[in-house]
């Protein structure tokens, strides 16, 4: 018989090493589909590394891709810490993006110093509102937030199409369902000349730092962790659990909304219904790879972004489907799950299984 016991002392090296090891194992597993597709995995991974680190442009592309993933990764990590299962970052991202173009695309001709903060704040608020609703349904009616946030993603995406064919439609857009462009002074400034990486990255990094500090050091962080670890005990200890949940819901939704703001006002300039290739869902993987730590989110987002950007250039060079990137990302998630288990538990072989209980 096999018995499973929690490890008495978890080593810090294990906490850090396991996500890295999981990512490496996922890449090794990905050699199987690569071989099936008729590509040499070693050449393929060589192309991948070249595609990420081969030039300043490549690195800029990777950082650009990582930016929304840091936001959505933080959104998932903070909510999951409180055991609030926000699976709706994808929808909240689009709410943020819609708010950004609603104020930024010409209705308010403000100077940039006012317009940029306004876009950022309204975008975050829209995302926060998108998470407040399912959190209310959870605390008031007991409606499972996993399902409600998932269903809301679909509702918001349809709402987005409605807006892009209606009020938000670009009158100069030749009939395409896209919004008018955000005014030049409303755009988040680029970080490097002729490169796509933009100051949304700085905002993401700062917020990751703030989140790390708040989680580790503040009373708010203590309450949030207490609610996540044992809501009943937290309630006993006098913590207002509902209020804590609402607080983290608003922050989580706000961060997801900022992912939308950063994509639309930092990169694309105007809004279409394919702004996000699933950043909201990938954020969940980022958060899990990061072990729900904000600083870890930054590292995990850089890794996942490398996989996406690298796999793109690899698939061009080798003629392999770019769905390989999604495959690696999903395998990383499964590997890190198993890895997390190995970090937490020991598997003991014992001859007398029944006697042990």
């Amino acid at each position: 018989m096999i018995r499973i016991e929690p490890r008495a002392n978890r080593s810090r090296a294990m906490d850090l090493g396991i996500p890295v090891l999981s990512a490496v194992i996922a890449l090794a597993f990905a050699a199987i589909p690569l071989l099936a597709a008729g590509a040499n995995p070693i050449t393929a991974y060589g192309e991948m590394v070249k595609g990420v680190f081969g030039s300043v442009f490549a690195v800029s592309e990777m950082l650009t891709r990582a930016t929304p993933l840091i936001f959505t990764g933080l959104a998932a990590a903070l909510a999951f810490r409180a055991k609030l299962w926000n699976i709706g970052a994808e929808g909240q991202l689009y709410l943020g993006a819609m708010a950004a173009v609603a104020v930024g695309a010409g209705w308010l001709d403000l100077p940039g110093l006012l317009l940029v903060p306004l876009i950022v704040i309204l975008g975050a608020s829209a995302g926060a509102a998108g998470m407040a609703v399912p959190t209310y349904l959870k605390s008031r009616f007991g409606a499972d937030e996993v399902v409600t946030t998932l269903l809301l993603n679909f509702i918001i995406l349809i709402f987005l199409q409605m807006m892009l064919e209606g009020p938000l439609k670009d009158p100069m857009g030749l009939g395409w369902p896209q919004s008018a462009p955000i005014l030049d002074q409303g755009m988040l400034p680029p970080l490097m000349e002729r490169m796509r990486v933009h100051s949304g990255l700085i905002l993401a990094l700062v917020l990751a730092g703030v989140a790390q500090f708040m989680l580790a050091r503040s009373v708010w962080g203590f309450r949030l962790r207490a609610v996540g670890e044992n809501a009943a005990a937290a309630r006993h200890a006098g913590i207002n659990v509902k209020r804590s949940l609402f607080g983290v819901a608003i922050i989580s939704g706000g961060l997801a909304g900022l992912a939308g703001v950063s994509e639309v006002a930092g990169l694309k300039g105007y809004l279409t219904a394919d702004l996000s290739p699933g950043f909201g869902y990938t954020g969940i993987v980022v958060a899990m790879l990061a072990g729900l730590s904000p600083v870890g989110v930054v590292i995990a987002a850089l890794f996942i972004a490398s996989v996406f950007v690298g796999a793109d250039s690899m698939s061009r060079a080798m003629g392999v489907s770019s769905f390989l990137a999604d495959l690696v990302v999903s395998m990383s998630l499964l590997c890190v799950l198993v890895g997390g288990f190995i970090a937490r538990y020991r598997i003991i072989r014992s001859g007398t299984g029944r006697a042990a209980s």
Partner: protein, 313 residues
């Protein structure tokens, strides 16, 4: 009145049943997993796997029922993966399920793209044809509604009966329910908690995959990216609406199907007055409302989401 005309039409009810079919498979599958105490958010991905594998098997010449079998086996495989992660390892059922969805979806898309690298329009197969029974099909109203359906719709309805029977009238069903309510008592009787849970997840996932297979092998005749489009998540909501009962699951799926069919018809009639998207949103909003109403009286399996380890209380 237009609405009355729609509700009286045979095509509306036939469409409702057709739209409900994949949901019936999905809700039943999710229901079995949850009755055994494990939430399976892999459902959306398992739908995609079922749709892709069933279609590809038929395309490669396995025959329609061969395709159904391949789809079920593929679903069972991903169910087994979810079962290993969540039952003996006791990992977060939410995260594992989402991981399975991402993994199953990307494996399906990758396989499809690798098999057909440069195809703009997907190759078509000869799908299931409506069962045309000589006398029954000629019945007024009921004939066209019921007998214009394919064999998979009938299989789905038969599954409702089968699942109800197994859960309520067999020792196995009692054990599955007990393992979702009170695994300790099942263990005390000398039954294997792990075995029952893993078996339920594998069987449930195979059923879910049939919902996907219906899409490519009956409703359509080819595989498209994004064709599942949230149907799996709707099933997760419908399980709660159905309070984990097969009969109510059928009812919920039919209601959802009817609403979706109504939505299409109202859209063509009232498209000028209301943006079409309002109708597209309605089924999802309805799901959330159903969830809120059902959550108050939910008698959910008490051990749902709780991992159980042997020898640990």
């Amino acid at each position: 009145m237009d609405l009355l005309n729609i509700l009286m039409s045979e095509s509306f009810w036939a469409a409702s049943l057709r739209i409900a079919t994949p949901l019936i498979f999905g809700v039943l599958g999710a229901l079995i997993c949850e009755r055994a105490g494990v939430l399976n958010l892999g459902i959306e991905g398992i739908f995609v796997v079922g749709a892709m594998c069933g279609w590809m098997a038929v395309w490669l010449g396995a025959g329609l029922w061969g395709g159904v079998l391949v789809a079920a086996l593929a679903g069972a495989f991903f169910g087994l993966l979810h079962a290993i992660l969540t039952v003996p390892l006791g990992l977060s059922q939410h995260v594992s399920g989402l991981g399975i969805t991402l993994f199953a979806t990307s494996v399906s898309y990758f396989t499809y793209r690798t098999a057909l690298p440069n195809v703009s329009s997907p190759p078509r197969i000869e799908p299931f044809q409506p069962l045309d029974l000589p006398i029954l099909s000629d019945l007024p109203f009921l004939g066209p509604v019921l007998f214009q359906q394919t064999a998979l719709t009938w299989l789905a309805i038969a599954m409702v009966g089968l699942v109800w029977y197994v859960l309520n009238r067999t020792a196995l069903g009692v054990a599955i329910q007990a393992v979702g309510d009170n695994p300790d008592s099942v263990d005390a009787q000398g039954l294997s908690v792990y075995g029952l849970r893993i078996g339920a997840i594998v069987a449930g996932s195979a059923l879910m995959a049939l919902g996907g297979a219906f899409l490519t092998m009956s409703a359509f005749d080819a595989f498209f990216f994004g064709m599942v489009n949230g149907r799996g998540w709707v099933c997760i909501a419908l399980v709660i609406f159905a309070s984990w009962r097969p009969g109510k699951a059928l009812l919920g799926a039919l209601l959802f199907g009817a609403f979706d069919a109504l939505q299409v018809r109202l859209q063509t009639e009232m498209g000028a007055l209301v943006p079409g998207q309002v109708f597209l949103m309605a089924p999802y909003i309805l799901s959330i409302i159903a969830l809120v109403i059902a959550a108050r009286s939910a008698d959910y399996p008490r051990a749902l989401l709780q991992p159980w380890f042997k020898g640990q209380r």
